[in-house]
């Protein structure tokens, strides 16, 4: 029950993109087609879970015992960037088909603030490892949900007569705002 609550909280109530405004760059960048959006979402799930696992261990096994808590941000960035690179190299060798599917998006995630944000949030909220993993998976799924929803909206926007002045990015930003407002409806559904 506790994990279900955590899941609903992370996916809907505090959606990483639409409520916490993290990872906006891929939200606007890779959301023109549903297929690429879901590909990106899968890549984020993959990376976020691994990143949370590793940063959790680093925080509790290295930074905390040494009293170096203030190095958290820079250390996490370093670790996540290296990690994504490593995953990319390994994937290319082990599973070329998965690499084909995720390959384009992996480098994009290296510096995605949503990944770093989740890693830090897990530490801040004092989750244990299992909670942290569930939280990171849920956040990543929430990210995917937002991305796919938005991509669907943008695909429809292509077909309707948008006024010339707001064609392209402006109308994308407007619809992103409306989508975020819609997600505000979930506020208070679950408390953590």
């Amino acid at each position: 029950m506790e994990y279900l609550k955590l899941f609903v909280f992370a996916v809907f109530v505090s959606n990483v993109v639409l409520s916490q405004f993290l990872g906006i760059c891929p939200f606007l960048g890779v959301s023109t087609k549903v297929s690429t959006a879901s590909g990106m979402g899968m890549a984020v799930v993959f990376v976020m879970v691994i990143a949370t696992l590793v940063t959790f261990l680093i925080q509790h096994c290295i930074l905390d015992p040494l009293g170096l808590g203030f190095l958290q941000t820079i250390m996490f960035i370093l670790v996540i960037a290296a990690l994504v690179q490593m995953v990319e190299i390994i994937l290319k060798k082990i599973s070329p088909s998965l690499y084909q599917a995720l390959g384009v998006f992996l480098p994009l995630i290296t510096t995605n603030c949503a990944v770093l944000g989740v890693a830090i949030l897990v530490i801040q909220k004092d989750f244990n490892l299992l909670q942290g993993l569930v939280y990171s998976i849920s956040i990543a799924l929430g990210f995917t949900l937002a991305l796919v929803l938005f991509a669907g909206i943008r695909e429809h926007l292509e077909l309707v007569g948008v006024p010339k002045g707001v064609k392209g990015t402006p109308i994308a930003l407007i619809s992103a705002g409306i989508l975020a407002m819609a997600f505000m409806g979930f506020a208070g559904l679950v408390k953590i």
Binding site: L68, L71, I90, G161
Partner: protein, 317 residues
Amino acid sequence: MGTIIICAIVAMAVAGLVLSLVLYIVAQKFKVVEDPRIDQVAEVLPGANCGGCGFAGCRALAEAIVKAGDLEGKACPVGGAAVMAKVGGIMGLAAEESEPMIAVVRCNGGKCNTHKKVEYDGVLDCASANQNFSSEGGCSFGCLGLGTCVSVCKFDALHINPETQLPEVDEDKCVACRACVKTCPRKVIELRKKGKGNRRVFVSCINKEKGAVAKKNCDVACIGCGKCEKECPFGAITIENNLSYIDFNKCKSCRKCVAVCPTGAIHAVNFPPAKPKVEKVMQENTDVSASIENVEQKQTEKKKEMIATEIQNTKSE
């Protein structure tokens, strides 16, 4: 205070070192041996990723070429023979000769030659307009003029002419990538051979309705009278479903069909302006007033001719 700074520096340095070491080891261990020629071939290709070759992108084409080890059926429409020769050099193969192609808009109806019957006020996209109605002029085969082909052209080679409401191909920019051909819901645009000196002859109409119906909707429709078919000394022209089609592989650009076409549906492009007929059709911008007069005169002539042929046709039927 001093110790913690040193501690932090050491921690970061160690972390950096360890990570780089791990990355290095992983990179060595999981090295994927790729044929270096893939990179070389991809380098030579234009990198437009237009998909005109039939592969997902330039790198996909490069991979396919290296993997198959031959160039059969693989050609870059953007780079043309020059690029394929380079690729052939890398692969040690002779490139397949491919004749340059160009997109041709086979409709000359538009605003000027059709009579507007309805006003379209829907989604400005050819695919959806195609489902909803025939066209403002009534022809259900011809160009809708909403410019979906223009929006898919990655090379800025298509533009809607504001006067005629028809797309025009910029011959210098078109690379025959087929994007517009695939997009057009009515298959108005066709890829045809560029021809010697860019000169080519084609039927600028794809209306399959009977002559009288087609003509009613559009002044310059092909009525399937068959004059061109009889006239063509090379057997390049066939009439099917009331529509004439010129096979660009057989056409020798003699332009005899252009001269006999009663509706002016057959166009000859880029020929020197020897005959006023040819000039009228293609060089719209040169002398508008003169050509308009010319057109009017010609059209009355054509109408007479048309009626004559119609009568003949009905008699023979």
